[in-house]
Symmetry: C2
């Protein structure tokens, strides 16, 4: 089996993109160590989804780390700011969580070093996305350079690569790719503002992107939405 | 008063270096918002010291964030690996915590964005230090570049600066500088392996650097050591 010895740290939110990223890493024969964050997000239902996905896709391990980003506030995802609906605009939205991917990638770098992983896989996309600055390729490249100066492993010669297989894919292309790899997307959770039983609202940025993606892919959307299309 | 409107996020461990960094920021009329991390370190006594220092030096605020780096393991500071004594060698020591400054600076970037700070102050030094890779100037410069690509604040034109006033100072120079600024160093805690009442061991890397610094500065060391010099 090619590459059978490569250990990968995979950031797994429980959403559609990170599930597809894990499926791609598995298809490339990585030994996948998944990492999720309980960061005070109002959509903590996604952590239940992450656990299911890691198991269903055959990841080697899955760790959920609590990190209190809500202590800082400043985001509709961790604060009392309402999640906007039907509102895909050009500005960076209030669901932006300050420096979230910077924090998550930094923790993943620590996790990778301890678990002997030479790759961090991350499901960012710069096509159908919410406009968050920390999803852009120039941020990812700068982070990779920084991480390779930060750790004992890097100083001792083990370079770390940040793998972003979705970065140039549209949401429809991501869904087609994942469907080809056999992902059951009913396991995944994208909504920023689910109801008490975890049902997607249907109207937040994340639901709108998901719905439009399935439609453009010509694949039935298995999601249960509280708000009909 | 010059610069009276500059908000600064100051990383405060409770040690000698970060206390001196805070004193320098205060002397430059920054409004200082201090940030400490409860990361599972065995020397949590330093968090008590951080609270005292923030208050004594007149910081605007002080927040301690729990972050479970011990969940990853891999360090004598968070794990069951013993802290070595009398052992200032050339290699990166086992007290290295994987990617610690990367994680701390990332969280400080989030904190700075939410609190409107345009500077992060950090007491790293590349002179009398333990050889950790994430204390080197090239790491700090790379991080600053990355942070300025990561945040909404940066995209909207508010650049973030990482300020490291101690980077080129020896431990003796740091102690002289802080003494000139009126710091009572008996408040600070450096030891990696204190006893139950918080008394410094006297023999770990951090104690050895501290002792040698006071001696070279010609200033009496106010620290209570369990192990006599």
């Amino acid at each position: 089996m090619p590459n059978s010895q490569i250990n990968a740290a995979v950031l797994l939110s429980g959403g559609l993109d990170s599930a597809t990223t894990l499926a791609i890493a598995m298809s490339q024969h990585r030994r996948c160590h998944c990492l999720s964050f309980d960061y005070g997000q109002r959509h903590r239902h996604e952590l239940v989804a992450a656990t299911k996905i890691a198991h269903a896709l055959g990841a080697d391990s899955h760790l959920t780390i609590p990190i209190d980003l809500a202590a800082f506030g400043g985001s509709a995802l961790t604060d009392t700011i309402p999640v906007p609906k039907e509102n895909l605009g050009d500005d960076i939205p209030v669901t932006y969580v300050p420096a979230r991917n910077l924090v998550f990638l930094s923790l993943a770098t620590a996790f990778a070093e301890v678990s002997g992983a030479s790759e961090i896989w991350l499901g960012v996309t710069a096509v159908d996305y919410s406009g968050y600055p920390d999803c852009r390729p120039e941020f990812i490249a700068a982070f990779e350079h920084t991480a390779n100066l930060a750790t004992k492993a890097a100083v001792e010669g083990s370079a770390l690569s940040i793998c972003t297989p979705l970065i140039d894919l549209s949401k429809a292309e991501i869904i087609r790719r994942g469907t080809d790899l056999g992902i059951d997307y009913s396991m995944t959770h994208s909504c920023y503002d689910p109801d008490a039983v975890g049902r997607a609202c249907g109207g937040c940025d994340s639901c709108l992107l998901r719905r439009a993606g399935f439609e453009a892919a010509g694949i039935p959307d298995p999601t249960l939405y509280a708000l009909p299309a």
